[in-house]
Each structure stands twice: as C-alpha cells, then as structure tokens.
C-alpha cells in the first residue's frame, strides 16, 4: 500500500502539488485509523474474553459450569465471597450463584394459627396439630438447622421454579420431611411423654433405643435425609416453642391439674417432713432412754466396783492369811469406833441393862424419820438387808 502512495516531485512546486498533499494526509489518517481500530478490536476482544470473570460478591457462593458441567463439585471447592472467578465467556462457561452454608427450615403442620381475642380456643379448621399415640391433640413446632454438604446436589438436583409452589427446591423437601418426622414420631409417643420429656423405646435398626420426643424426631429425620439424598447434613432439630396442649378448655384444665400436682407435692412433702420430725423425736427419746440406761448401768457398776475395791484389796492381801484378815478387820472396826467416839458431834450414852438382862426402861421421844428412798441396788446376801433400822426403844 505504501508503494502506491505518490511521492511529491521536487520539480513541481505548484499546480498538482495540492492534490498530492491531501492524498498523503488522507493516507496517513487512514493508517492511524486502522491502528486505532486494531487497538479497539483487541480491547474489545480482551473485554469479551474476561467479561465472565469477576470477584464473588459478599455473602455469595459461586460455581462455574463449563458446557453445563460443574467445575466445582464439593463443598470445599465452591468459590466463596472474595474469591476471583476465572471463566470463559458464555456459552463456554456459566457462573451460577448457589445456596450453601448453614440454613434452617421450620415445620408447618403442628402449630396453632393466629387467633383474635384474648381467650383463644382450639379451632380444628384454623389450628394445625399432631395426634399422639393415645389420641390426644398437641401443638408442636420445630426448627431444622442443616448444612449444605453437597452443593451440586442441593442446588441442581431439585426442581426450583419461582413460578411454582416448589420454588424453594430442597427446602420444600426438608420442610416436608420435618413435618413427616413430627407427625410419625408423635404417633409413637403419648401426650404426657412429649410434654414431660419422658423417653420411649424407639426401634433403631436392629436395636431398641430409649429416646425423648425431640431426639426421636431428629433420629427419624436423619433417616429421611439419608434416604432422600438431599445433599445436606442435619445439625440440629429443636423446638421453636415447647409443645403445648390445645388452647382453651384443655389448657385451663391442664393448668389446674398442674397446680393440683404442685399442691399435692407440697402436701406430701409436708407429710414427709412431719413424719421425719416425728421419727427424729422418737430417735432422740430413744437415745435418751439408752443413755439413761447406760448411765444407770455405769453408775451401778462403778458403785459396786467402789464397794468391792476395799473388799478385793483386803482379800487379795489376806486370802491366805485368815488370822491376819481377822486382825485387820478388827483394827479397822476399832479405828472406826474410836473415830466415832472421838467425834465431838457424836454423843454416846450407855445404859445398864434392865432386870435380868432385859432392856432398860427409858422413855424417849423420837421423831418420825422420813421414808427411805429405794436404793439402786440392794446388797444381796447382806444379813442386815442393806438397811439398818434405828434401834427401837427397849
């Protein structure tokens, strides 16, 4: 192209010179224009190639479908917030924002509906409920928290159409499974077993396991989730509110029954406390009786021991020496008598015997002695009987 561009003839200074210059200028302008066009084309091509690449938006998770096949298939491979997505332009690659992480669904079959007025009554048309094994009606509402473990199965395996009732895909299935678990598990439990969290034997494969209602629902739900192949893992199944009886008459009667149970419990506790007090008193009395008996027995033993201390001492010393013993006794008797006689507070009056050795006639006025108290122990074998009477008047 450059070869055909006329070069200015240095000999021609006028005339055709103007045409040549304009042609040259046009040619140079075209050349510059093509360069710009190439650059624009390159830029556009680059933009086109990179048009499907972007950073994942905050809170979003993304997978890339290459010709419709997911490039990321596991939970760990999914592109999450902040990561750069490199993708060819459509229709080679397609970026799809998916749902993942930890999510919740709520049961819809067991709870009562909103009612106007303060004194709401059970209404079978409006309220939803579950039937228990003993054919009682209960309201139960639960929440299932789960984590998406297979994002491809979870996001692409179930019908999800915004114009249909199934627009929530797996969440609809999970909600149905939760409802199913509640309804079927309630049919195994009696109402009081659910309300009072009493465990019931539930078949778990080959064995029987004792479970409370909530755990049994979770167990049943876990089986359904595995069977339905939903691509999730159950994290927890919890009551949103504790199970309740139908509103109105049943709830009122139940409140009365609970009050009565509390009062009954109080009355029984009171009776038990009284019984305990009575028995404690009896034990204290019994202890006193035993202690008194022990004390008396001990005193008796001590008294006899003291009494026999001198006896034993003398016997040990003189058992082989009767004469010595006799002398020792006489000495002690004499010492005692002397002591009595030398005692200034004791006055002894000796009277001659009466006629023919009879008692002397003396007139004495003796006041009556107080009655003698019973002694703990009579000295058995004592010829004097342990009680010496005051000598009577002769």
């Amino acid at each position: 192209m450059d070869d055909k561009i006329p070069k200015p003839d240095p000999g021609l200074e006028t005339g055709e010179t103007g045409t040549d210059v304009s042609t040259q200028a046009l040619t140079q302008a075209l050349r510059g224009g093509f360069v710009i066009l190439y650059i624009v084309i390159l830029i556009l091509a680059g933009y086109f190639l990179a048009s499907n690449s972007a950073r994942v938006k905050p809170g979003a998770s993304t997978v890339v479908l290459r010709f419709g096949r997911p490039l990321q298939t596991s939970k760990g491979e999914v592109l999450t917030e902040g990561k750069m997505v490199w993708a060819w332009p459509r229709p080679i690659d397609e970026k799809v924002d998916i749902t993942g992480g930890t999510r919740s669904v709520f049961s819809t079959v067991g709870w009562y509906g909103a009612a106007t007025g303060a004194n709401a009554q059970f209404n079978p048309d409006r309220d939803r409920y579950v039937l228990t094994r003993d054919w009682n009606i209960l309201h139960v509402q639960m929440e299932l928290r789960y984590e998406v473990e297979d994002p491809i199965r979870y996001n692409f395996g179930f019908f999800k159409d915004d114009d249909s009732e199934n627009s929530r895909g797996v969440e609809t299935v999970l909600e149905l499974a939760l409802n199913n678990a509640i309804v079927l598990t309630a049919s195994v439990f009696e109402a009081n077993e659910i309300l009072d969290t009493i465990p019931v034997d539930v078949v778990d494969g080959e064995k029987t396991v004792s479970m409370v209602f909530k755990k049994a629902v979770a167990h049943h739900l876990g089986r359904l989730v595995a069977e339905y192949d939903l691509g999730i893992g159950v994290e927890s199944v919890e009551f949103i509110s504790a199970p309740v009886l139908p509103r109105g008459k049943v709830a009122i009667e139940d409140a009365k029954l609970r009050q009565k149970r509390a009062a009954s419990s109080d009355a029984l506790n009171e009776a038990i406390e009284k019984a305990r007090t009575l028995k404690n008193q009896a034990r204290v009395g019994a202890d006193n009786i035993i202690k008194k008996a022990e004390s008396e027995s001990g005193q008796l033993a001590e008294k006899v021991k003291n009494e026999f201390a001198e006896f034993n001492s003398l016997w040990d010393n003189f058992k082989d020496d009767p004469e010595g013993l006799q002398l020792e006794l006489e000495k002690r008797l004499r010492d005692t008598v002397r002591g009595i006689m030398s005692d200034p507070s004791v006055e002894i009056t000796k009277l001659p015997a009466g006629v023919a050795g009879g008692r002397p006639k003396v007139k004495l006025v003796v006041r009556r002695l107080p009655p003698r108290g019973p002694e703990a122990m009579e000295f058995e074998g004592d010829p004097d009987g342990g009680s010496q009477k005051a000598p009577g008047p002769n």
């Binding site: 539930v202 010595g324 006794l329």
Partner: protein, 336 residues
C-alpha cells in the same frame, strides 16, 4: 494489507467455529436429560447427573445406574440428529388434605407428598409427547402422578385400621415396626411406583405430611381430654390424702417401734448390769471367809455413817453394838 487479512481471517475463523459448534455440538447440563434422535431412527439419551434409570417402553424394563454425561457432546447437524431436552431434577408433589375412611369406619384427614423424577426418558416422551415443551410435559406428569398418589392413599388407608383400642395401642407400643403410618407409606409408595413406572417416572420418596381429624371428631377428642384432666384432678386429691395419711401412720408406727426398741435395749442393759453385779456378789459370797469379810466391811461402812453427824447414841450394855464399842476400846491395836 497483510494485517487486514489477518484480522479478517481470525474473525472469520471464530465465526466459523461458533457456527460449527452450534451445528455439531450440544450441552448437557447437570439438571437435564437430553434425547438425541438420529435420522436412522436410533436414539441416544444423555443424563446430566448420575441417577437410576429404567429401560423398556412399557415400564417393564430393568433399573440401572447411569453416570453423569454433563458437559459438551457431539452430534450430527440438524436434520440428521435432533436434540430434545427434558428436566432431570427431582420434583415434589403434594396431595390435598383429604378425608380418608379407615377400615374400622373411622375418618382421618391425611395429606401425602412424593418426590419423583423422569427415569425412563424414552417412555416419558412417548407418554407425554402430546405436550409441546418439556415444562408442559412435567406439569402434566405431575398432575397424573398426583392422581395416582391420591388413589393409592385412599386404597391403602381404606384398608388400615386407623383408630385403636388401648390394648391395640399397647401392642403397637411394643412393636414399633407395626407403626401404622410407616406401613401405610410403604404400601402407598409400592402402588404408586408401579403406576409411575408405566409413565417413565420414578418415585424417589413418599411420605405422609399431615394427619388430622374432621372437626366433630377433633372437638370430641378435646372434650375427652378435658374430662380426662378432671378425672385426674379428683384422683390426685384422693391419692394425695391417702399417701399423706399413710406416711404419717407409717412414721408413727416407726417412732413407736424406735421407742420400744430403745426401752427394750435399756432394759437389757440394766439387766446385764444387774447380772454382772449379782455375779460379783455371788463371788463375794462364795466362801465363809469372803462372806465374813464382806459383812464386816459393811458393818464398818454402816458405822462410818455415824461420823461427822450430830447424833446421840443411847446403847444399853446388853446391846450388841455396846459390845462393839466396848471391845474396840478394850482390845489392843494389832501389829501386822
């Protein structure tokens, strides 16, 4: 001129590649089933995800597992090969909350749900080929399947005794496997699976969503619950009184027993003490010497009582005590 030719070549090549790819390739997405009909009458089926499929044209074929064919696939250009796409995902349908008459004449309200999918694309396309698009096919299939689920539900629950006597309930409690609803679900699923197979459909799962009672029966149960609570209140009153009395009576009896036992023990202890004392006295009385020693000591003790007291003794000289005093005063002190 050379650069211009290069650009034209590149752009032309790209356009040709796009055109050829449109003619000779197609995509199978992970949620699709693609049927490729050949001009010769043959048909290829590509499944976007691994699943269980059934072969055969009347639903009597065998089931088998297939791998995922998702991605780009090659084909001959139209009209040599035609491509049809179906929905390969699992769909869910729910029945109405309808009255069911049980085998015992009782009535329940039951709604069920089912998860279904196309598992025989050939048969499915044959059965629902009158619908122009895949969504319309799925919609019609769903409606047909719902009718089958509802009729199976009626059939199964109509042959099941839904209300039970207390004795039967006890039996049910001991045999969890005989749980009525779970059995009903299995039976309904078996019936629906057979019918769905004839439509080129598979049932992934089926369950009971909700169970209720007609209004009159529900109100009857409510009345029964109220009555039951009232009966329990009365029974609780009586039971509390009886238990309270029983506790106190038992306590009184036990208290009495404790005292009696203590008294018995006290008596035994005293008797043992007396018995020991008796033995000591008997030992003291076992010989004449011991007896004399004991009596003499007793006499000395008795005399010592007289000491340190303001007392006056009047003794006649023929009284034994006179001799005691007299002899004691006269005898010399023995020397040991």
């Amino acid at each position: 001129m050379k650069a211009k030719s290069t650009v034209v070549l590149v752009i032309g090549s790209l356009l040709l590649a796009v055109f050829l790819s449109l003619m000779f390739t197609y995509q199978v997405r992970s949620n699709e089933i693609v049927l490729v009909d050949s001009w010769s009458g043959g048909r290829q089926i590509k499944y976007g995800s691994a699943t269980t499929v059934t072969d055969g044209n009347e639903g009597n074929g065998t089931s088998r597992e297939v791998e995922s064919d998702a991605g780009i696939q090659f084909r001959l250009p139209w009209p040599l090969e035609k491509v049809y796409k179906l929905d390969g995902r699992t769909h869910v349908l729910e029945t109405g909350f309808d009255e069911e008459l049980g085998a015992g004449g009782e009535t329940l309200l039951v709604s069920a749900y089912a998860g279904w999918h196309v598992n025989n694309a050939n048969l499915f396309r044959t059965k629902f080929g009158d619908q122009r698009t895949a969504p319309l096919m799925m919609r019609k299939a769903k409606a047909t399947l719902r009718d089958h689920v509802e009729s199976a539900r009626d059939e199964v629950l109509g042959g099941t005794k839904l209300f039970m006597t207390p004795e039967e309930m006890e039996f049910r409690k001991e045999n969890q496997a005989s749980l009525t609803y779970m059995e009903a679900e299995k039976k309904i699923k078996a019936i629906v699976e057979t019918k769905a197979k004839g439509l080129g459909l598979g049932i992934k799962f089926l369950g009971i969503k909700r169970v209720g009672l007609p209004e009159t029966q529900a109100q009857g149960i409510i009345e029964g619950m109220v009555q039951f609570k009232g009966t329990k209140i009365n029974a609780l009153n009586q039971e509390t009184q009886q238990q309270s009395e029983a506790i106190q009576n038992t306590a009184a009896t036990e208290a009495l027993a404790i005292i009696e036992k203590a008294e018995s023990n006290a008596t035994r202890m005293r008797n043992e003490a007396r018995s020991k004392v008796s033995e000591i006295y008997a030992e003291a009385d076992s010989s004449a010497e011991k007896a004399r020693l004991a009596i003499t000591l007793k006499q000395i003790k008795a005399l010592e009582v007289l000491r340190a007291k303001q007392i006056q003794l009047i003794i006649s000289d023929n009284h034994p005590l006179f001799n005691v005093f007299d002899e004691a005063m006269q005898k010399p002190v023995p020397k040991k």
